[in-house]
């Protein structure tokens, strides 16, 4: 560790500059591959958020018979709320349901509807979408209740899909991380290989291994850092793009995937740390074989 700070700083700076092509190549490799890693991590978290959103979106609609007295409606509402897995219920008037139906259906289909034939409903949000069937079983057939609808197969699929999606993105992130490491190590190895004669000359004039290694490691550190910062900025950029998409149209998947900026910054930080570590350790590792003898 005989190398003093000033020597290392000067050496690193001039090496980075004089081997521009390699610097650019290494930074590019880190930036591209860590961007992919970061994006995968972001998407994984996005899906986690969206899942919560989607689960809140699984409603049990309790359609009320036309002309049910308000008192009975209240009782049904209260009974529903007593169930532990019901989160909240909203009363929707006949007019509201009619409007919604008109909105969801094509003009052709909604022609046959009218506000008076559309039933009023209690739309209940569940804590656990798996319990939808239980609610339906209990309330369909109760006095005042016309029917209870809930998504059955779809709920099942949805749960599976989001669970698996999270896994997929996690696995993708891990695979990309491994790939990124391989690619970055590869690039560093090539760059150092191109300078192997230089290393051997340094050894011949009496430089210790650490004296040679430290500037190379700092080079790797800075390359990894620069690449990782670019990658982190891409991740934040991706987040902003998703956010904008989420704003422009209401209630699409992007809105559901929106997540607090804190998590995005955490992801970016992870990416930067990975870049630093892979760059530094990679350089130290790559130079090893040229330092032997």
């Amino acid at each position: 560790m005989a190398a003093n700070v000033q020597y290392v700083a000067r050496e690193t700076a001039s090496n980075l500059w004089r081997n521009r092509l390699m610097t650019v190549a290494a930074v590019l490799t880190v930036a591209v591959s860590l961007s992919l890693v970061g994006a995968a991590m972001l998407l994984k978290q996005g899906v986690a958020h969206a899942t919560t959103q989607w689960q809140h979106g699984v409603n049990v609609d309790v359609f009320l018979k036309a002309g049910v007295p308000v008192a009975q409606e209240k009782v049904i509402d209260q009974d529903l709320l007593q169930l532990p897995y019901v989160h909240s219920c909203t009363y929707r008037s006949q007019a509201y349901d009619y409007n919604e139906a008109k909105h969801l259906l094509t003009p052709d289909e909604s022609q046959s509807l009218s506000a008076s034939t559309t039933p009023a409903s209690l739309r209940c949000v569940l804590n656990d979408p798996g319990q939808a069937q239980a609610v339906a079983q209990q309330f369909s057939g109760r006095p005042g209740v016309a029917s209870v609808t809930y998504p059955s197969q779809a709920v099942h699929n949805m749960q599976q899909v989001t669970r698996i999606l999270q896994w997929v993105f996690l696995i993708v992130a891990v695979i990309l991380l491994l790939s990124a490491s391989v690619l970055i190590l590869n690039t560093i190895r090539l760059a150092i290989f191109a300078r192997r004669r230089e290393v051997s000359v340094m050894k011949l004039v009496g430089a210790t291994n650490w004296f040679i290694r430290v500037p190379f490691m700092f080079e790797g550190l800075l390359q990894g850092l620069s690449g990782a910062v670019i990658a982190a900025l891409s991740v934040i950029g991706l987040h902003l793009v998703l956010n904008t998409l989420g704003d422009s149209r209401t209630s699409n998947v992007f809105t559901q995937m929106r997540m607090p900026i804190g998590e995005v910054l955490a992801t970016s930080a992870v990416v930067v740390v990975i870049g630093l570590v892979v760059g530094t350790v990679g350089s130290a590792f790559a130079i090893r074989r040229f330092l032997e003898t």
Binding site: R18, N19, V201, L204, G206, T208
Partner: protein, 228 residues
């Protein structure tokens, strides 16, 4: 200072570069190593620097047996040896000044020492004006002189010079040899491998001649060769 005992060296290709070579060089001696091309001069220098290890025999340099030296002590051995390489071996990404200064940085000399010593040495070899050029921007002879400056900038115990005047004109060569002689007078052991008959004949120092890896002559105040 330098001692070879029954040293032999065969390269991986099967070429026998040295055969049972023994020689002894005292502290402060000035020795010319001569011999036709491919006779093993560079190989001797490589062995002394521990760039290669001998297949047989033992080598002592500055009191250490090089083959027994542990890895981490090799750099400290090399700091006692200044070496001018036949193919220069300059750092291609460093300027002339930085190439020479590197040797001093390696041994941890402070900045002001470097700032004063390097220009002095560069002036001595006549490269004061080229200090900021990169090796690729120098003529052959200029590169060779950078190599020479680098070899003795840290006042080593031993100076090995492999063909130090191969690309220099006779006048510059003479200047370089005078310089080597001056360095030798300060107590440094100097070994010069060369083909340059005129400098050998002029200096009249100890001459060791190799032929196909064996010593065929060791003459106290010798000349380059009998036959030329």
């Amino acid at each position: 200072m330098i001692c070879l005992e029954n040293v032999s060296k065969t390269y991986q290709t099967g070429t026998v570069a040295l055969r049972d070579l023994s020689l002894d060089i005292e502290k402060g001696e000035f020795v010319f190593l001569v011999g036709s091309t491919g006779s093993g001069k560079t190989t001797v220098i490589r062995l002394l620097l521990r760039e290669e290890l001998p297949d047989g025999g033992r080598i002592w340099v500055a009191g250490h047996e090089v083959a027994l030296l542990s890895q981490w002590r090799v750099p400290y051995l090399r700091r006692n040896i200044g070496c001018v390489f036949q193919d220069y071996r300059l750092l291609p990404n460093k300027s002339v000044f930085e190439n020479v200064a590197f040797v001093l940085e390696v041994i941890g000399r402070p900045k002001h020492v470097i700032a004063s010593q390097v220009p002095q040495v560069l002036d001595l070899v006549g490269l004061g004006r080229k200090r900021d050029s990169l090796p690729g921007q120098l003529s052959g002879g200029e590169q060779q002189r950078v190599g020479i400056a680098r070899a003795f900038v840290n006042r080593p115990l031993i100076l090995l010079a492999d063909e130090p005047t191969g690309n220099l004109d006779p006048k510059t060569s003479l200047g370089i040899v005078r310089l080597l002689d001056r360095i030798n007078r300060t107590g440094t052991t100097v070994v010069v491998a060369t083909h340059d008959a005129s400098i050998v004949d002029m200096m009249r120092r100890r001459v060791i001649e190799l032929d196909e890896g064996t010593m065929v002559r060791d003459q106290a105040r010798g000349v380059y060769g009998y036959g030329t």
